[in-house]
Symmetry: C2
Subunit: 389 residues, 2 copies
């Protein structure tokens, strides 16, 4: 009788995030994949299945069949290793990890490689805005001109009005991201920014300024997941996935009961905490999906670190690397970068480094549990993972 296996992360790797004009979609995917495989110390014959996370290659690169592409270019096609692409918009990365987690738990596979990749900087100007809007509801939102930034601005306005929040609270999320990114060699922007710089940067969609918005990025990240059996047999060291949960909300923001409470995040967090058997107070650090600074505040609340309207109290000290709940030690989406399909997997790379205590200058002190929050677009899908040892 086969029983359900625990699932471990035994290796991780990523490319630098940024404007990588000399690397193609497949270059990036393979670079990250090979780093993770090497880091895990496994061979290609050990790999049972590959999950590729990608949000936009169909639109940007005119390339579908991404799973096969990655397997091919990694030199793994000869072995016939199955490769499947998971698309859940900007949450594709963590959704792919969820699928790999299920694949190993099912007993059908022992070792899964999850690679997330996005190549976004080949297209510029209004065109990338139009393309990014494909993650919104095409018929009810983007058709009328809504973009991810304008939706975030709308949400921010209403939130700031109802809870009497100053713009400063939003900006502090970005200040913290840049502070941490300055210590992350893979980050797209390693410059620190002052609160004044963040507040006074150019307007994008009122009240959001440039420093409230994540950049357009290229990049890839990969991790290797393995069953308990494989870990024991091969004496591997790793980080355990204690919970993997996904939940959904309406795709169009207008259908939701509240535009600043992301029910998908709340539900996924509740499921994850239940499954892991821990509380938000137990979390040592969190990587959250702050594609816009407002989403950083909302995530802190919807994940249970603050009551609704109170995240502002955490943004000065508590979220620092030395604070009660270190937020985005990697630099987050604002400063590490936001290559859609790679973001969620990149969070795992950071959490793996943190929990293995290999995060160098940005190491959180003796972390026990890491929480990862990856979100699609304006909150239609949220994926929450809790990792530990």
């Amino acid at each position: 009788m086969i029983t359900l296996s625990d699932v471990y992360i035994i290796g991780a790797g990523e490319t630098k995030f940024g404007e990588l004009w000399d690397k193609s979609l497949r270059n990036l995917a393979v670079e990250a994949g090979l780093k993770a495989i090497e880091n895990a110390g496994i061979y290609s014959k050990d790999i049972d299945i590959i999950y590729g996370a990608n949000g936009l290659a169909g639109v940007i690169n005119k390339q579908e069949n991404i799973g096969a592409l990655i397997a091919d270019f990694s030199g793994l096609s000869e072995e016939g290793i199955p490769a499947i692409r998971i698309e859940a918009s900007t949450a594709s990365g963590a959704a792919a990890v969820h699928e790999a987690y299920l694949a190993i738990k099912s007993g059908e596979y022992n070792v899964a490689v999850v690679g997330g990749v996005e190549k976004m900087t080949d297209i510029h100007g209004h065109e990338i805005n139009e393309i990014m809007s494909s993650i919104l509801d095409r018929e009810w939102e983007s058709f009328y001109g809504a973009t991810p930034a304008s939706m975030a601005a709308l949400i921010a306005r209403k939130y700031m009005k109802d809870f009497n929040i100053e713009k400063e609270a939003l900006s502090m999320i970005s200040v913290n991201d840049h502070e941490n990114a300055s210590r992350n060699p893979d980050a797209q922007y390693r410059n620190k920014i002052s609160l004044k710089q963040a507040m006074e940067s150019v307007m994008v969609a009122d009240p959001l300024t440039l420093m409230d918005c994540s950049p357009i990025s290229d990049g890839a990240a990969a991790i290797v997941l393995a069953s308990e059996d494989f870990v024991k047999r091969n004496k591997k060291d790793g980080v355990k996935i204690l919970a993997s949960a996904i939940a959904e909300d309406y795709l169009d923001v207008g259908s939701r009961k509240s535009i600043y409470t992301f029910n998908s995040t709340k539900k996924a967090a509740r499921l994850a905490f239940d499954r892991a058997g821990i509380k938000s107070d137990d979390v040592s650090f969190a990587e959250i999906h702050d594609s816009f600074s407002i989403y950083g505040l909302l995530a802190l609340e919807d994940l249970g670190f603050a009551d609704k309207g109170n995240a502002k109290d955490l943004v000065y000290d508590e979220i620092k690397l030395s604070g009660r709940i270190p937020l985005n030690p990697s630099g987050g989406l604002k400063a590490k970068g936001d290559p859609y399909g790679a973001v969620g997997v990149g969070q795992f790379v950071e959490a793996y480094l943190q929990l293995m205590e290999k995060a160098g200058d940005r190491q959180v002190k003796s972390p026990r549990y890491g929480l990862l929050h990856n979100m699609a677009g304006t909150g239609a899908t949220s994926v929450v993972h809790i990792l530990g040892d």
Copy 2:
């Protein structure tokens, strides 16, 4: 201690396949999904996870985030049910079933809905050809002008030369598809065609004529999968998934050892037969991926029903509904239709009807095992399922 569950199909439904100009992507997905849910006799609160299969919405409909879209429009967002899109090009459908199968086997979910959808006829002429070519290797094949049809023609030429095969053998695959589709109310083309008509139809890519090529189609299909526990608790009738296997080959045909042996199909078939514990002789009917008639011959061989070069001996009598190995009782990709993301799920709808002995005029006599073969593009990915009771 939780143990691994068997997985059952407890409901199935699909839209008509065809040129459905009055229905949008979401209309189609929801129509099929609701039919399957109603057929299964379950409620929305029973559904734990949704898998959406789609190949091209990013390119055609400028809509990514397909999982969330389907959940939303099905009225399931309120419950927060997770929804994930699986993309494996034209094998997206069966790949999504594989993921749902793993999800249930993992013990994390009890009931999964898999919906495949594609909306392809809104775009015409050379543009759809360009878009369909996104399933090939963009940098090594489609960039140079290769299309799915021209690649299939290349493969057919070499196969016909090496094994001295007449065009007639290819055409008989299409004749059989149309014969069966004439009995399927959901099929795009219900007209029977004669061998002469198939042979003399207009040339598309020499030696492939129009009747060797699957059409451009809209359509959606959905099935409901459930755990053994759910089936017993709710006294459901269903069809058991005995094996679910995926394998990969090089994305670009030029890298393969043989261009008319699809290693992905061979490997997935071997895995599936092993896992199900049956042989090809035991199969009562097969639904195979004949987007071009040549692929019908190759599938018969790579799946183990004939030796390489000998599929021609099966195409006159053996593949008929009354023959030894009834092929595509649904009408196959040529005549039932070829809406990319829906095709693989549609094969399950057919197999479910056949194995429940509810396939009406096209019922195969007392079937025991059904084999389903769904393939991506020119064979980069193959998914093989074996169903039984």
